[in-house]
Symmetry: C2
Subunit: 436 residues, 2 copies
């Protein structure tokens, strides 16, 4: 079927063009990646989202040849032509054009080289993100991200989890107010949600196994390579479960995702020159105290009860490879909703999932008894009255429950081997960056 | 395997208990929905997320019977016992308990009846949402919502769309600033995103077919049954496509979702006493001018070019049943990025998908030429300089493209037959409601 020439409609993606189509008429659409003019012959490499294909213009078709001479890099075109099997061509086939429509032009020079041959610094790349995303390695990261989300979701659905959406506009802080963004909400002040925590806990008292993949917001004080002001989090909560249950779930999830990525994203991994080690559960576990002992031996003493500082994590990542858990954290350093151990309340049933030096996920058994929750709020210097909307739900049959939140962007860092979280987020937001 | 009694671990959900399990030991966990004490026998209906099952305590086991006497509504329990086939019992089987653990208590009376027998007004329901969500009809709506999202996503993935995440914190308005929520963003002012529009357009110049299911924010001036301040939107954008292409996609999507809901959500539809009419594509199409003519005949004149007011839509919904499109809108009433018709620029290539009186989706062919886009911005009274970060991407090879945004919460209204959008959102946010 041939459409009116002003409306050439793609019949094939570039990757579909093969010697088997020899002699067939096709319509391809995409971007001009490269033009090589040998005088009588002009080779145009046309890129679409599936790859690229060679279109060969010759002086035999003078009118078309002259039109093609106007093509610049990243021009958007539609080409109708005939496939010609051709051993030397990139796909064993090229397209001999019969019609060329220039759908849009592009400026020259572009602020960034979309072929990826000329590198650029991160700020230039982020300022011109759309061009950056056309670079093969960057493009591969986001195709991987798309697949990773797909694998995570199908895993959780298969495990019987229900997808929920919790509000991102909230009345009070989940875990203290230091890192909140205030919003002018009609005549009041509201905040951007730091976490789905309280809502997912509430919903676990109805739907038992719930998950959400959505944005969370933190007004990070410092500039680091692993923090952003807007991050995507995979949030999971399960009723009638404890920390052990949800750690096992998390291990199975990571194993599933790594396996699927290795099986189904070979091309992306190859572009990124990335080899994935599929780590089988159980993952190594270290108690907080054991981690302190390891650090002590390395000459990095941390006082029991204190946070582990970033340089110490960096050092740990040098020794402990792959994914591992840190368990049995001091209660005072963890959020109020984490359950202290029944026989030793200065330690709590919290865990972090680490990948080398980066904390990927954090979770634990939650407190399900209101009285203890109120006590813990007070101990953390928070006012129970600010949490009244949440506390009352503990009067209505709150089951024992446990869960975790995993940074999706950080998981992507681990999978693609990125040193900066900004490599893995379409349009990162931080103190210094609000556009594009 | 029997666990230490303080850690009874569910072996079966309520729905799994059947006469075939006669004589087997099971452990169930859940909420006490009802207690009926006949003196020597006490029937406890235990509810979990899959349904409910009868646990029968008798004085033969005096200690357990006495313990069970303490049970109140919505107490959380774990029960270990033996299945007994029993014709009169709800599932043809009941559980004869051997061990009962009270995992948590609930207050009495509850602020809302979670069985759904006693109705309550919407505000009371939303104030006590977790209890409300336990009511069978409300519960069914959210299980349906979970499934609808699943069906939408799998449809779009099968159609070759890639999932993306666009920022919700933005520097300037997408479509004028009237309905924006301002955020204190470090030392600057930022806004909550009204729409993924500009970002999804940009990303279509890289990944061609993209979608996002995520929150959008509008500071709605008025209180209505179909607006909220936080809504979930299914956003789709496709390169080398026009309005016709994405309307056809939308029709196929709606048809797919309705078919899947009918096939896979029979129980939920039955609880809601809802019959779904599976409407096959193509859906009826009316131009804006034709709609005005219909309204004129009904005695509701609307001047050409004006918005169609809500009462007029209500009246339309009385006449036109099911899903239908309104096309060929006046250019001046549609956003700046919608493409005017080439032969008649006062009309544009926009469409709305309606379900009776409710607008479900809005979309169209986009402008892909920078010059025209700048012209349209000016005509809409917007400043091109505020859109510089977006306009420059039109210099880099922007393909022709088209797309739509569909209100997920509104689609749920259509599917479950709700008259108020708040029925379909876990924790709705509006002018008056910021908690829970």
């Amino acid at each position: 079927m041939q459409r009116a020439s002003s409306k050439l409609k793609r019949t094939h993606y570039s990757k579909d063009i093969s010697p088997e189509l020899n002699g067939e008429e096709v319509i391809v659409c995409g971007w001009v990646e490269r033009v090589r003019n040998l005088g009588g012959l002009m080779f145009v490499i046309l890129r679409d989202r599936e790859g690229s294909v060679q279109v060969t213009f010759s002086k035999k078709n003078r009118e078309l040849y002259e039109k093609a001479k106007n093509l610049g890099k990243e021009y958007v075109v539609a080409v109708r032509g005939t496939v010609k099997a051709m051993e030397n061509a990139p796909r064993g086939a090229e397209i001999i054009p019969e019609e060329l429509i220039i759908l849009n032009v592009a400026v020259s020079p572009l602020p960034l080289d979309p072929t990826g041959k000329v590198d650029a610094n991160l700020d230039t790349r982020l300022d011109n993100r759309v061009l950056d995303l056309r670079r093969p390695k960057v493009n591969a990261i986001f195709r991987l991200r798309h697949n990773v989300i797909k694998f995570i979701r199908s895993f959780l659905l298969d495990e019987g989890f229900m997808e929920v959406q919790t509000p991102k506009i909230i009345a009070s802080a989940t875990e203290g107010g230091a890192e909140l963004f205030p919003i002018s909400y009609y005549e009041r002040e509201a905040f951007l949600s730091q976490s789905a925590q309280l809502y997912k806990e509430q919903l676990s008292s109805v739907f038992e196994k719930v998950f959400e993949i959505g944005p969370c917001y933190r007004a990070e004080e410092s500039r680091t390579v692993r923090h952003l002001s807007e991050v995507y989090v995979v949030d999971v909560e399960a009723a009638f479960a404890d920390a052990e249950d949800v750690m096992a779930l998390l291990e199975r999830l990571i194993h599933h995702v790594l396996t699927k990525v290795t099986e189904e994203c070979k091309e992306e991994l190859s572009i990124l020159e990335r080899h994935i080690e599929i780590q089988k559960p159980p993952f190594p576990r270290y108690t907080y105290t054991e981690i302190l002992e390891i650090l002590e031996k390395k000459g990095i003493p941390v006082a029991w009860g204190e946070d582990i500082p970033t340089p110490a994590y960096r050092e740990l990542g040098e020794t402990i490879k792959g994914f591992y858990f840190i368990t049995e954290w001091p209660t005072k350093g963890k959020p109020f909703y984490i359950k202290p151990k029944e026989d030793k309340s200065e330690i709590c049933e919290a865990f972090d999932l680490m990948y080398e030096w980066i904390e990927l996920a954090s979770g634990g058994t939650r407190i399900h008894e209101k009285e203890l929750l109120v006590k813990r709020l007070r101990e953390q210097g928070l006012s129970p009255s600010s949490f009244e909307f949440h506390l009352k739900t503990f009067d209505w049959g709150m089951p024992p429950h446990a869960g975790w939140g995993m940074g999706l962007d950080r998981l992507m860092m681990a999978i693609v081997g990125a040193e900066n979280i900004r490599e893995c987020v379409f349009y990162p937001r931080d103190r210094d960056r609000l556009i594009p």
